[in-house]
């Protein structure tokens, strides 16, 4: 494959955007639907997509888990009138950093080679996972055109 993240950002043109919505079936905790959007059918394998969304959901569940750790954090914070967060990172913020790193890694390894780009949900109000679909340039003179992506886009 010849797509990489740099190339995608600087020279590919955007075709479409897909928005993966929130799954509210378990309440207001942050969770995204794992339903595979039809627009991505020709671009990425269903299993890879589901894996990404499930991992993200696990991260958010970890951030929002209410247990011993969150009780401790709340009690310590309250006893310092929440001033402790001026020097300490909250648990949620720590997990958000992990998520940002994970998304960057997924973009580099999985999605950019397929002409896709995932936007971190925190940049969209935690409402959607925005997936940008770029034009598939598998036919423009590359010697090792990837078979799965070039076949469907005849220009």
């Amino acid at each position: 494959t010849f797509h990489n993240l740099q190339e995608l950002r600087h020279s590919a043109s955007l075709v479409n955007k897909v928005f993966v919505q929130r799954d509210y079936s378990e309440g207001t905790t942050c969770k995204f639907q794992t339903k595979f959007p039809s627009e991505l059918e020709s671009r990425v394998e269903r299993t890879l997509f589901e894996e990404t969304v499930k991992t993200l959901n696990n991260f958010y569940a970890e951030a929002e888990k209410i247990g011993a750790h969150s009780y401790l954090e709340a009690c310590v914070a309250c006893s310092t009138a929440y001033l402790i967060f001026l020097c300490m990172e909250t648990r949620y913020e720590k997990v958000l950093k992990k998520i940002a790193k994970y998304i960057q890694e997924q973009n580099e390894k999985v999605y950019a080679p397929r002409g896709l780009l995932i936007t971190d949900p925190i940049d969209r109000g935690m409402r959607v996972i925005e997936i940008s679909i770029y034009e598939d340039r598998g036919s423009s003179g590359s010697s090792s055109a990837s078979s799965s992506t070039s076949g469907s886009t005849a220009r």
Partner: protein, 388 residues
């Protein structure tokens, strides 16, 4: 060919829609009308000042020095909670960007099908099932999103707020998911402070009356009369409010839901968010995670406004400084409001533009790459300082 440069970096809070006021370069976020908030501040600080001036000297000597110490601690906690409630983002949901809005519109049209001419289109509602309860999500025409469960649009601040409780003029802000626990701790600690001051006012007056009679005692400490007045009226309202919110927390309901009677029990409708256990409900709200703000207030807006093609040392960390910048829209490095469709150079949006031929000759004129890193803004402002 003249060089144009931005001279001021614009932070995202300056371009946020909604009727909020921002201070300290985006760190503080409040509603527009702050008059009642100043009154709250005045009442609390004023009453405590009177307490420290009149009661504390006498009681520290005649009863115990721990009385003023505890009063100070309580006062500081009340102020911290008040300011935290008033200054933080209550959980505002950012408005949908154009692509997301049109994606949702398409989904709505697909769901509604063809509406015959002359008929009103059906209301925009999405049904979700939460814990075996059907909850209707309403579409917000202002923010162009389907509101998440428990979110509501505040007309005073013109924002959709997550887990919207109510808009409180006394704190000058909405009360929502992110600041509800601070609001509750504020009302609770203020109740305690009011009861504390009221009690020791009475103790003080009684002790003085024993020595010199009631009327003389009042003449000696006029401040106490004022304090008692304020505390008396505050007690009824604040203690009542604390009790009300304790009730709401134990049921995991919001004021908004309570007022609308969303879970009042008719039609066998029950609160799907309640854990049916008072301790679990309380721990979720008071000991739950501290949610992050999804409004990036202090992020720097990307300003693609310089059409000049001269590239001196580009400070950006990407290694493509020799690639000539084309005018074709490029994908943003940091996904933000400027999608490729919007990222056309627009000089009109930058606030101050100084054109200077001398800068070009100094070869400090450099095109700000669309993948603007903070360093470029510093370079731009340094260059401006040099030009002046």
């Amino acid at each position: 060919m003249s060089a144009v440069m931005i001279t001021r970096k614009v932070r995202k809070w300056e371009k946020l829609p909604g009727k909020n006021t921002f201070c300290c370069d985006g760190r503080v976020m409040m509603a527009r009308q702050k008059g009642v908030f100043y009154l709250t501040l005045f009442l609390i600080v004023g009453t405590c000042a009177l307490f420290f001036a009149f009661e504390c000297p006498y009681l520290a000597v005649h009863l115990s020095p721990t009385i003023p110490v505890f009063a100070v601690v309580l006062f500081l906690f009340v102020m911290a909670m008040l300011l935290r409630t008033s200054f933080s983002d209550p959980g505002v949901l950012p408005r949908a960007l154009p692509e997301e809005a049109s994606f949702i519109e398409m989904e709505i049209e697909a769901a509604n099908g063809n509406v015959p001419a002359g008929q009103r289109p059906p209301p925009r509602i999405r049904n979700v099932q939460i814990n075996n309860q059907i909850v209707k999500l309403k579409y917000c025409y202002t923010c162009k999103i389907f509101r998440p469960p428990r979110a509501s649009h505040c007309s005073i601040c013109d924002n959709c707020v997550d887990r919207f409780d109510h808009h409180c003029p006394w704190v000058g802000n909405c009360v929502g998911k992110r600041n509800y626990r601070f609001f509750y701790l504020f009302t609770l600690s203020l109740s305690l402070l009011t009861i504390y001051i009221f009690t020791f006012d009475i103790v003080h007056v009684v002790m003085r009356s024993v020595d010199s009679g009631f009327l003389n005692a009042l003449k000696e400490t006029p401040g106490t009369v004022l304090e008692v007045l304020v505390c008396f009226f505050t007690l009824w309202s604040v203690v009542g409010l604390t009790g009300f919110h304790t009730y709401l927390i134990s049921l995991n309901q919001t004021t908004n839901e309570d007022i609308k009677g969303s879970w009042s029990g008719k039609n066998r409708v029950q609160n799907p968010y309640s854990h049916k256990n008072i301790m679990k409900n309380c721990s979720e709200i008071l000991c739950g995670p501290t949610y992050p703000s999804v409004l990036d207030r202090r992020g720097v807006m990307q300003q693609d406004d310089s059409p000049s093609l001269t590239t001196a040392a580009t400070p950006s960390s990407t290694s493509d400084s020799t690639v000539p910048q084309t005018t074709k829209p490029t994908a943003p490095l940091i996904p933000n409001e400027h999608t490729p469709d919007d990222a056309k150079p627009s000089i009109a949006t930058s606030t101050e533009i100084s054109t200077s031929l001398t800068e070009e000759s100094e070869s400090t004129a450099h095109k700000v790459p669309p993948l603007a890193s903070p360093e470029t803004d510093v370079e731009a402002s340094i260059a401006k300082a040099a030009a002046h």
